[in-house]
């Protein structure tokens, strides 16, 4: 059972749920739930949790459900943070770096190409190094930032999961980073929306590969 965390102000939680249901069973997890009962994988979805007020993801990360997610991740459970979910995971310290306002200072919604970097994560296990996916982005605060030495370290440790293809960086992210994992690889955050790339009819189905990881990954805790 995959759990999709629902905060007040989440927007893409239904989309994420539907995407998960293409590969298995899924349910919503209300932000006030304190235990992830019988959950084998977690999606922290996109949107504007708590209006993204103050700073994207800043308030949501304090929710009871996120404390449970932190424990789940520490025990090795797979956690996928998409867009606002990525921001929440960074704010919660489950992923390195931070997300800053796009250099263009505008919201941008467009289909982009991202490239799998051969990271050592269950989420990218199906993807060969250099494999290109067509996935949409839609965000205002998606510029990935980490200090240079930290970026070097992330690259060396294979924690860069995705980069924007050459010329497709929509937000000014450092070194074109589109998604990163934690050290163990079981937590992935990315700005592009794989849950909006699960059906050719609505754009592409390149994102399904990420969701299939949940099925392969045995329950953690």
């Amino acid at each position: 059972m995959i759990g999709v965390i629902q905060f007040p102000g989440s927007c893409d939680e239904r989309d994420a749920l539907q995407a998960c249901e293409r590969v298995g069973q899924a349910r919503m997890v209300w932000h006030e739930e304190t235990e992830l009962d019988r959950i084998d994988g977690v999606v922290v979805p996109g949107g504007f949790s708590y209006g993204d007020y103050l700073r994207a993801g800043a308030i949501a990360r304090f929710s009871p459900a996120m404390e449970a997610v932190a424990r789940f991740a520490a025990a090795g459970g797979p956690v996928l943070g998409i867009c606002n979910g990525f921001q929440v995971l960074c704010e919660a310290g489950l992923l390195p770096g931070a997300l800053l306002p796009n250099t263009g200072l505008r919201f941008v919604c467009r289909q982009v190409a991202i490239v799998a970097e051969g990271s050592d994560s269950p989420f990218t296990a199906e993807l060969g190094q250099g494999e290109r996916l067509s996935v949409p982005v839609k965000h205002m605060t998606g510029r990935f930032f980490a200090a240079d030495d930290e970026l070097d370290r992330l690259e060396d440790a294979g924690q860069i999961a995705f980069r924007y293809a050459q010329g497709d960086n929509p937000n000014g992210s450092a070194r074109d980073v589109a998604g990163v994992t934690n050290e163990a690889g079981n937590v992935l955050g990315l700005m592009p929306h794989p849950e909006h790339a699960v059906d050719p009819l609505t754009g592409s189905d390149d994102g399904l590969a990420l969701f299939r990881a949940f099925e392969r990954q045995p329950a953690a805790a």
Binding site: Y50, G51, Y53, L54, I59, F62, S63
Partner: protein
């Protein structure tokens, strides 16, 4: 060169959605006894003509329809 701080805040009576959301979230985060939260913007800059700052605020930095501003100059001139 003078360093200046411009504090921009939502006008009294104007809805401040951010302040409201933060205030509402605080108790759950374990912070009690905090009230009247207002979220605004801070602009810092260096200028060689502080007298133009009011006009700059009105025209560009603040939206006078919905925001008030306050300019603070740093005492020591820099050069």
């Amino acid at each position: 060169m003078v360093k200046a701080k411009v504090l921009i805040r939502p006008k009294q009576g104007i809805l401040d959605p951010q302040g409201k959301a933060v205030e509402r979230a605080l108790p759950a985060l374990g912070f009690d006894g905090i009230s009247n939260v207002r979220v605004g913007r801070l602009v810092e800059l260096e200028t060689d003509d502080p007298s133009a700052l009011d006009s700059l605020c009105e025209k560009l930095l603040a939206n006078p329809l919905i925001e008030d501003f306050e300019v603070e100059l740093e005492e020591e001139a820099l050069s």
